[in-house]
């Protein structure tokens, strides 16, 4: 039984190998779209070196909810950046570029999200790196890709720009209301994930053939890929797709409803048995045989959908979310209150599965993180350690990875090629740091 496969999964996680053991990655990434990709690989056991421009490093180190820093670190910086080694390297300096090239010759994957052409100006573009490492897998993630009108205009981009330009935000709004931006950096986070699908497919190809390649990903294009029916609908009908608020126009019924206590509940019951169960739960079993609602395709038609949703809304308005959830379990449809972050972090199921996982970090201390959400029976992904200040692992990388001598390292600091954090919140270690905790090459 599958019980044996998954028995004690959480407890045994750290006693098993990682799927990407031995894979080496170099990133020149900022904000969310860039670093989240290597953050996926590092959770699966790849050794990731994160290059940041000293002394300020990644802009994400400044981005925190309403000014709140977690233990003096950027609250937003944790999720994309666990298990990495932190290198403070100035790629404007020839000495910094040379160090990068030495590292690049020994890695499998390079990830970057600078504007098009910037890496090449630093002599570390794909064309330059493939000369010294022909099997390199090199991914560039930007707003508009590497070519085309917007790339040529050198337009800057952000997740919010991609939400706007793709039509994603527009489709995620209420009809007649201004378009709504998702509170997630969804084009970034999802774009990073999508990028890793390409990187891992390229790795499979390299495992077979030894050949590397260049990959480009656009923040907007990746999210357009998720908008399934919108494009064939527009092509076939010649009409623009319309937003529908919380109603799912492809699944009926599926919507968010207001309960008696003014909280909200999501409900779905499209399949025949589910819909029948809902009608029974509502005390209106006859609706299941109503010609307007009987068949899913007919029920989805605008008039019918509006009518059944109106009926359900009236019913839910008299119930608490708990009452509907219980009825859903009993009658075989789905209903769920709208969970807040508290509900997710404290959820016992997620904790017992080890999705919500406790990290015991020498620098930042104990805290809860989310594990990579693919449980792998033989090679579990996991978080070992979390974020570090800019340039925190310089000595480790220079000595262990590149075999540099003390004198060479000193000269790299003198030239400004290597650097460490600025004395700024989000960049420096916590104020109670003893000067050693978390350092791999700590000195007495």
């Amino acid at each position: 039984m599958a019980e044996d496969t998954w028995k004690n999964y959480k407890e045994k996680k750290h006693s098993k190998p990682s799927p990407l053991k031995g894979i080496r990655v170099l990133e020149v990434c900022t904000l969310v779209l860039g670093p989240s990709g290597p953050g996926i690989l590092s959770r699966m056991g790849a050794e990731v070196i994160k290059c940041e421009m000293p002394p300020l490093g990644d802009t994400l180190r400044s981005m925190v909810p309403f000014g709140y820093f977690f233990r003096e670190q950027s609250t937003s910086f944790f999720r994309p950046n666990p298990n990495k080694h932190y290198l403070g390297l100035d790629l404007h300096k020839p000495e910094g570029q040379e160090i990068f090239r030495e590292l690049a010759a020994r890695v499998d994957i390079i990830e970057e999200n600078q504007r098009p052409g910037v890496m090449e100006r630093w002599n570390v573009g794909y064309r330059q790196i493939k000369e010294i490492n022909p099997s390199i897998i090199y991914i560039s993630k930007t707003g508009f890709g590497q070519w085309g009108q917007y790339a040529e205009e050198n337009r800057p981009s952000n997740d919010g720009a991609a939400q706007g330009m793709s039509g994603y935000a527009w489709m995620s709004s209420f009809p007649g209301q201004p378009p709504l931006k998702s509170r997630l950096y969804v084009c970034d986070s999802y774009g990073a994930l999508m990028g890793e699908v390409a990187v891992l497919a390229a790795l499979h190809y390299r495992d077979r053939t030894g050949k590397g390649q260049f990959i480009e990903l656009s923040q907007s294009e990746n999210i357009m890929r998720t908008m399934s029916w919108v494009w064939p609908y527009q092509h076939i009908t010649g009409k623009g797709a319309m937003p529908a608020g919380n109603r799912d126009v492809s699944i009926c019924p599926a919507d968010t409803f207001r309960c008696a206590d003014d909280t909200f509940l999501a409900l779905a019951a499209p399949a025949p048995e589910e819909f029948k169960g809902l009608c029974i739960a509502m005390g209106m079993p006859e609706l299941a045989d109503d010609p307007r609602f009987e068949d899913h395709l007919i029920r989805l038609q605008e008039e019918n959908a509006v009518e059944i949703l109106r009926i359900i809304a009236g019913w839910v308005r008299t119930k608490t979310p708990e009452e509907v959830e219980v009825l859903a379990g009993k009658h075989g449809f789905v209903a769920s209150r709208i969970n807040s972050i508290k509900d997710v972090v404290e959820n016992q199921h997620f904790r017992e599965r080890g999705f919500v996982t406790e990290v015991d970090d020498p620098l930042v201390g104990q805290f809860l993180d989310y594990e990579f959400p693919v449980m792998m029976s033989k090679t579990p992904p996991r978080v070992h350690w979390t974020i570090r200040p800019v340039g925190f692992d310089n000595e480790y990388i220079m000595t262990h990875r590149l075999g540099k001598s003390e004198d060479e390292i000193r000269r790299l600091y003198e030239s400004g090629a290597l650097g460490k954090w600025a004395d700024v919140r989000g960049r420096r270690p916590p104020s109670d740091w003893d000067g050693k905790a978390g350092l791999i090459m700590a000195r007495d």
């Binding site: 802009t59 709504l180 199921h349 594990e371």
Partner: protein
Amino acid sequence: MAEIEDQAWDKWIRERDDPKIASTRPEALDDITVLDLSSNSFAGCYCSSMLSEFGAEVLRVESPEGDFIRTCTPYGMLYKGEGLNYLSEGRNKFHITLDLEKPQAREILKGLAAQADVLIETYKPGTMEGWGIGYEALEKINPRLIFASITAHGQFGPVSHPWMPDYDNIIQARSANQYDSGEMLPEGMSYAERPWAVPTKAGPWIGSVHAGTFMAAGILAALHWRAMTGEGQALDVSSIESYASMEDWAAIWYQGAGVVSERFGSLNTGGWLYCFAPTKDGAVFLGGLRLEMWQAFADMVGKWDEWGAASWKDMAPFSEKEQQLKWADLVFAETRKYTNEELIAMSVEYTKKGRLAPITPVVAPVCCPEETMHDENWLDRGIFTPIKDPVYGELVIAQAQYKMTETPIRIKWVCRPVGYDNEHIYLKYMGFGPRKLQELKAARII
């Protein structure tokens, strides 16, 4: 140091990764066979699409009456008999039928699994085991098999067995990502007056998409592990966990400060300047997360002196809620004076001639998808290139989301009706000729 070829980077790379030449290049996964058993699961279909785009031979296994997911289509609209969401995710897949309720069908499935690299399934946990085709049974037949399960709550844990069907709006609701998306309800107003100022889910099936894409990444990592060791394994995705994991700061904020993230409209709890702003003819996105970019915005709209931008030292005075609301009012009063096009032109102009040039704020139009689909930039980049399909005719579905020099993705066909490929696939994998197939059809096994 290696010499760069004379050709400009954008031209050089386009010659090598333009989707127009994709069909001339090799495919990354054309050595892989995938069995997609997903049942009423968009996540499963999307997952196998991620692999079929790279050339994997995906055998999409449906019950003889066809998967319910085919009926999940906007407004009940069918095109040549097919739902539009399914049309988008049938790409490059072979469609066969098999009634797994029947014991003989499960023996056939074992034969297919013995020859497959990956199996995707989305049944209620325990269902596959009950049929004798769970991971532990199939692993004995094929130790190299990667057995991938996608469900709402996963294969283990306290609530994995009470069954919850896996619909996108439920994933969004349970992940905490709907809770804090949406317009704020103004103080003193009720939901009856502002029915849109509520927790708001994303329109696209983003919850399902996350589950499918995470599983695709997991499958590919497992394929790499298998290349190293020869071993297959079981993979478990909970779609709710998948989408929950995309949240960036709320969980850390909650455990550190006890604050529950709430709705903040189209502003950004995570920092300023980062919002949608109303304009004369619509809305734009404004981005200026670094101080200089925010200063450049102030300068661009002629408020450098009045707002005292020269004296700003860092972003701290703009990050808290009340400050963001105050500044949003001031900023929106300016953006309302211009059209989208004017504001974008101003930012492009500022890159060249502004006081802080080349620094400029991000200004981007908020488009409806009709505008997106006709934008020359995306058309040029091959996202909406029409495909001529032998069954469905000319269609537009999103494609080419990554460009690659060696193994680009491609679409060979859009979709297939139920059981369309039974003859070819059962002959190829199981040696069933026309007579045997007829028998199995008559017995309603296929």
